[in-house]
Amino acid sequence: MVRTDVQLMLDVKAGDGTSFELLLQRYRTPLVNFLYRMVRNREQAEDLAQEVFLRVYRAREDYVPSAKFTTWLFRIATNLALNSVRDNRYQKLEVSIDAPISGDTEEGDERTLDVPEKHPNIEQHLVEDTRRKMIRHAIDKLPEKQRAAVLLHKYEELDYAEIAKILNCSESALKSLLFRAYEALRVELAPLVAQHARH
């Protein structure tokens, strides 16, 4: 039988190292991806994800299952990511947000999980690569809180109540936040949206 996150965490609290290992295996990929999409730097995303796991381990003694484990986990991750983004903002002032998309230095080192080669030729590969860069760029342009809301909603598939707790806002405020984020993405990705709608 598969143990729930809360059961695993309670076992970690009782001193079971194997349960911590299972939580690590269960959440390392979602956490690294969430943080990577937040901070747009692979190395930094991994450092932050390691810090999240360390904080979970440190907090094991005081752990009380009062909320869903994912709410707690992603709340730690979101706070770390938001702090990191705010710290980095001043260091990156020289890089214009309107810089050509091809200038994104973080794209090259992306190892994806979709291993099989799906591109019959280089041209198609380039087209898909450009689309992805545009999408990443549109997400990057969102204000941090909107970005976090979109990532938690779309990629982590957390429900509204969980995301609202993570972002410390009401559910109605979250829905409004997400609506504004999708509006901004719709405008930013207008050519792709039109293309998508035609298919």
Partner: protein, 163 residues
């Protein structure tokens, strides 16, 4: 349903997270409202585009680094009663000793509560007036006196009892 209300439901509709009655309300609205219908198509397209981004894989060293960080953590400080948690037999023996000490103290020491019967007797000895209560109540001469005189000479009526 109004177009303003669509704002809070459109994403739930696009992602299929609405309840059945909410979904039907949205469908009824967009059937009659062209701008909202267009918005639903565009948001669906945005959601589809976001889904095109691939997942990245954590580096092979990721787990090793987490293990190293965790291993470097100091052991949590044990509280003064933590030994009980790890030695239930000692904890049980200590509890039994405390219970025995209390029981022995109760058996051999001074009585915890005073002897109520003895105390009552002592109290009654200190109240001689009450002993004559029945005599006073049935004292015939007092009953024959008129009410006014009885009140006036209240102090005199008590004389015979003191004798």
């Amino acid at each position: 349903m109004s177009c303003e209300r669509m704002e809070s439901r459109i994403l739930g509709y696009v992602d299929g997270r609405l309840k059945e009655n909410e979904r039907l309300e949205v469908e009824k609205h967009i059937a009659d409202c062209a701008p909202c219908r267009l918005r639903v198509h565009e948001f669906s397209a945005v959601s589809g585009l976001l889904g095109e981004l691939p997942l990245i894989e954590p580096s092979p060293e990721f787990d090793t680094r987490v293990h190293a960080l965790v291993a470097a953590e100091p052991e949590p400080k044990a509280s003064w009663w933590a030994w009980m948690h790890f030695s239930p037999r000692i904890a049980f023996a200590a509890s039994m000793l405390v219970v025995m000490a209390l029981w022995l103290g109760y058996r051999t020491g001074a009585p915890v509560a005073p002897n109520i019967a003895d105390n009552d007797q002592a109290m009654m000895q200190d109240l001689p007036v009450l002993e004559d209560h029945d005599v006073l109540q049935n004292f015939e001469p007092l009953k024959d006196l008129p009410a006014a005189v009885q009140a006036e000479d209240a102090s005199d009526t008590q004389q015979p009892q003191q004798m």
